[in-house]
Symmetry: C2
Subunit: 405 residues, 2 copies
């Protein structure tokens, strides 16, 4: 739930006091677009960072995992166009060098710099270009630079994703802002993307980590584009404390902060799905009536990841039988004659059968829109959960058939 | 392993002595193509039947499960164009009626008739058309009718699939023949398709069931088109005993028979993948060096089902990083710096890195072909397994975006 008092702001991550950002074109992307981003907190910040659970991890992930251990970070440097994954010792040393160079430019310890890279796997970073661009990148830092940074982390994304909000906690204004990127290899364990967020709130260290973990689980871990899981996912939240509120802890402002962070991350997560590779629809799959929350999530994921369901979403085809199929193949307990399914407000399936009098032309109309919800009631218990997915289009195949070449 | 002495025959399922088959157009498919198939054993036969493990099961599956319990069957009636799934009581009674009518026409008990339907989910069978066509179907039965039956069970399949072979066991010739269909909702638990096979071998009842189960596991359960699992899968093997061999049992001819059945089912299974919806490539994903066979299978499936791997196969793009990604996200144990990957004969990855001197133009050439193998060595143990997959093409999306409309 988003707290009622949230005020959405412009400015993305740099809407947060004390946060500067910038983005430049280093020449990593052949297109000449921006490909190197930097986020900098003018004061030291607490950092809560989460990484991909893929067993194959990129060199930047491995280096950032080391640096995140201390719980402190003041800068995040990120490149796009080359993921620096499966690049061996050289990849590790390149990622390390990036943090060292940024540390020197910003006069902070290299261990307070996080590094992230996204793009093609198996190709080393063109470090000469990165080295040449870093001084320019440091100079580009500004309190208006959030958008440039958001642009510089994109790969096949069509649009930059940023969001910021202000909320009041204990009579004090607190700001949270962030940027994110998708949009291929998007699967829900941890959400296979980047999200770099910052806040000026003072948050107790253990509380920050716990809130970020739970919020990621309710936002980025609830989306899917293609069920593939990146080797580079990184979510980092910096809290620089400039709001000078009393430290947020359990029972003292933390629920409000958590709700604000959840509103921000859900907005970014939904933007990732809406901008999924080739996607034309953003569809929420809401499951209730499951025997447990876990089962509700399993059922929702099975539907959200089914290629046959996703192609039907693409064709705006009310092929509810494929939803029944996807429910039945999931590990969740399903009894076919108890299932009800609605598209938008229109009930299509009752007790596992096509509802008499269903207005299929109304369903086609709903499916013709860009965003809607499919509600599934398993009729077994009280478990519920929700996943956001997109359609599978010919464009997805076109984008991915020849990505490296 | 296929025994060396297998002789491949023409004629599909009707290559087996005593097996008649036929197929007619009943008008279930709007295209006017054949859509009703019948297989008949002129003598009572033992039957080993396996069904989908999807929790949502079609009415014909439920009825055939009942009939299969007795271990005897003499006929299989199958329709295409309408799956008779999620059709409630009416669906059950329609499926039952089909077995009853076929039983009357062939003068055998209805309980010795198996029924199977494939096509759209959620729509009742046009029983008036089925009733009208069944006498014509029974008349069409002939020892040359295997191909007509193979045609009458197709949905989005481009080609009929049939195979037959003869092998010698204990100095006696034994024939095995079968037909199959795919080609959407193809996922490996039990293989989401139809395969109707027959043999004239005398096989001990328990042995037949065990051999069919193991063979399905090594053939249809090792293929994937889209990771979706049908609600209608049925594999039935009839053994009519006309070869009059001494009953095959453990230690008495059974291994040869099992090898013959495996050769037949693997050939049909590979034909299903090659004819997968929109597929242009048949690719074997062979994993070895896993800590267990189970892990090898998990790793192979993760690669075989990854949309990003499958689009790269479509584009003949040697994007090995996506294979590393798919291995890393699998539940199998993977250590990235021990992984080796080869396309055809060409080693591309060694110790998790691009091999120096790799000829990528050679790899593109291999990937340009219609059929090849990707070999993955996890470098951890002795577990190995293999899965057959196909590419994901724009055509797959086109076929599936508007299937019901």
């Amino acid at each position: 739930m988003a707290p009622a008092e949230v005020e959405w702001l412009e400015g993305g991550v740099t809407a947060v006091p004390g946060i500067l950002a910038g983005g430049v074109a280093a020449g990593i992307k052949p297109s000449g677009k921006k490909d190197l981003a930097l986020i900098y907190s003018s004061t030291p910040a607490r950092a809560a960072v989460m990484f991909t659970s893929n067993q194959v991890k990129g060199a930047p992930v491995l280096v950032s995992m080391e640096h995140a251990r201390g719980g402190q970070a003041q800068a995040i440097v990120a490149s796009s166009g080359c993921a620096n994954v499966c690049t061996g010792e050289r990849g590790i040393s390149d990622a390390r060098e990036m943090t060292r160079l940024v540390g020197e430019l910003l006069r902070i310890p290299a261990t307070h710099v996080l590094v992230a890279s996204t793009g093609v796997i198996g190709v080393p970073l063109p470090m000469d270009k990165v080295r040449a661009a870093l001084p320019k990148l440091a100079k580009s830092l500004s309190p208006q630079g959030g958008r440039a940074a958001a642009e510089a982390i994109l790969t096949t994304d069509a649009k930059p994703k940023e969001a910021a909000l202000r909320l009041e906690i204990d009579g004090r204004a607190v700001t949270i802002g962030g940027i994110a990127k998708g949009v291929g290899m998007i699967e829900p364990h941890l959400a296979t993307m980047f999200c770099f967020a910052a806040t000026d709130a003072v948050v107790a260290p253990a509380a920050l980590t716990a809130v970020v973990r739970r919020t990621v689980d309710r936002s980025f871990n609830r989306i899917t584009v293609d069920a593939d899981q990146s080797t580079s996912d990184t979510v980092a939240v910096l809290a620089n404390g400039l709001a000078e509120n009393r430290p947020l802890e359990r029972g003292r402002g933390l629920p409000q902060f958590a709700a604000g962070l959840e509103a921000l991350m859900q907005r970014l997560a939904r933007a990732l799905v809406a901008d999924g590779e080739g996607a034309t629809k953003l569809v929420a799959i809401a499951v209730r009536g499951a025997t447990s929350r876990r089962d509700a999530l399993r059922a929702a994921r099975s539907v959200a990841n089914s290629p046959l369901v996703k192609t039907a979403l693409n064709g705006a085809d009310p092929n509810w039988g494929r939803i029944m199929m996807a429910l039945g193949k999931s590990p969740a307990r399903v009894e076919q004659d108890k299932v009800a399914i609605a598209f938008g407000g229109e009930r299509v399936v009752e007790r596992g059968l096509l509802r008499e009098g269903v207005r299929l032309e109304r369903v086609r109309e709903i499916m013709g829109g860009g965003e809607y919800e499919i509600t599934i009631d398993l009729g077994l218990g009280r478990g519920e959960d929700r996943v956001w997915t997109c359609d599978l289009s010919e464009e997805y195949v076109r984008i991915n058939a020849k990505y490296t070449t």
